[in-house]
Subunit: 215 residues, 2 copies
């Protein structure tokens, strides 16, 4: 499994580095603040202090040999753009960068980021759906394809699940966690849902929206 | 549809307020910085300037009548906790708050937040999986139930999809976006996958992990 370099150890960068480490991926964590490196030295394998807007420093800490680098520098837009641009010059094949805004995201892509993430923005959209629609979870897995965790609408409770009929309405019930069960599972050929269950539903935004509204 | 008050218009708060507004929910947006209120006055219906750590100010802007409030104050942990605590005193029935850390999340719950979100942390975890496992998307919809968007593993390409066999390995292929298609759709009774397709797969962390590894 390929090692990954994570630059910038704010909350986002730390989460990336820790989750990679938990999954068995070797991580090189870099930040220009010595106090941050100090604080994390217990939790992360390898931490280096470097200013990544400096090409020599980047090469010196060994980033040039990495196949994958995550630029998790947050509020300093200039440092984030400059670092990304240098990584692109070093021909790093897979560069991920955190963006603060759509404009920042455009610039990052222009200077060589292969993938851009906007954590606060994506999460804000997700929370908006949870708050207004009483879903337990809402995920846009693609442009107009969503997966929603919710209680089954009344009409689905206490009757044999008619998957063909739901399909006509653009809906598929993907998984179920029966009331009292500790985990989700796939559907059986014969499923009865009750109100205390949780289900995962898939479909387009509007099909799922119409469907869930009838809870 | 119930109106929602959003306090704190950083990147997360703005995303919540805008997405709610797009979905047709009435939003009262609040921030104590006049310049922020000024800048957003075009995009958000109703914006008020108030210091939400002041109970009188909270009551004055009308928050006491809301059924749902999102506390999106970020870096000022004290203001976030105090605001949440006051909202709880006002007996707001549904309080969502953004947390900076697990400890902050615990305190927010203790002072009355019904739901806590950690955007940078959740997104960091998600990005970690995308970077290391070459998935197109990775979502934990429950404790140990994940939905993953990916290219089909070689073994699934060019043959009739055997759902029963996959089920024995704990896997369900939930949706497919055939190469060249512009959108995802549900599976047909007879599906052939090819390498250029994208699929959404569901299962436990370890079942999906084993399965995707064989791409
Ligand atoms: N030139 C640089 N070289 C290396 N690290 C840098 C550089 N500039 C900033 N950083 C580091 O990036 C980290 C994250 O940046 P910052 O804290 O501004 O982001 P943030 O948006 O608050 O992050 P998050 O939302 O992830 O908490 C900081 O720890 C900072 O020290
Ligand atoms: N007491 C308060 N009353 C009202 N608004 C407040 C108060 N304290 C802070 N805010 C507002 O909360 C907003 C978000 O806070 P801040 O920018 O510190 O968070 P952040 O973590 O950077 O946010 P994000 O990650 O969402 O961009 C700011 O616009 C700030 O003005």
């Amino acid at each position: 499994r390929e090692p990954v370099a994570v630059i910038g150890l704010g909350r986002f960068g730390i989460a990336v580095a820790l989750e990679l480490t938990r999954g068995g991926t070797e991580v090189l964590a870099i930040d220009n603040r010595p106090d941050i490196a100090q604080r994390l030295s217990g939790q992360l394998g390898q931490i280096m202090v470097a200013d990544t807007t400096d090409l020599d420093a980047l090469v010196e800490v060994g980033v040039a040999d990495f196949g994958k680098v995550v630029v998790a520098i947050g509020s300093d837009m200039q440092a984030s753009i400059l670092t990304t641009s240098l990584l692109s010059e070093l021909e790093i094949p897979d560069i991920w960068a955190k963006a603060l805004s759509q404009e920042h995201a455009r610039i990052l892509k222009r200077v060589g980021a292969h993938h851009v993430a906007m954590p606060e923005n994506d999460m804000g959209m997700r929370i908006a759906h949870l708050v207004s629609d009483q879903m337990l979870d809402y995920v846009e897995i693609d442009q107009d394809w969503v997966l929603v965790k919710t209680r089954p609408p009344k009409e689905l409770c206490g009757v044999l699940l008619d998957e063909a009929r739901l399909r006509k309405r653009g809906i598929a019930v993907v998984s179920v966690k029966p009331e009292g069960a500790s985990a989700f599972r796939h559907l059986d050929s014969e499923t009865y849902l009750s109100y205390g269950d949780e289900v995962v539903i898939a479909g387009t935004n509007s099909d799922v929206d119409k469907f869930v509204k009838r809870v």
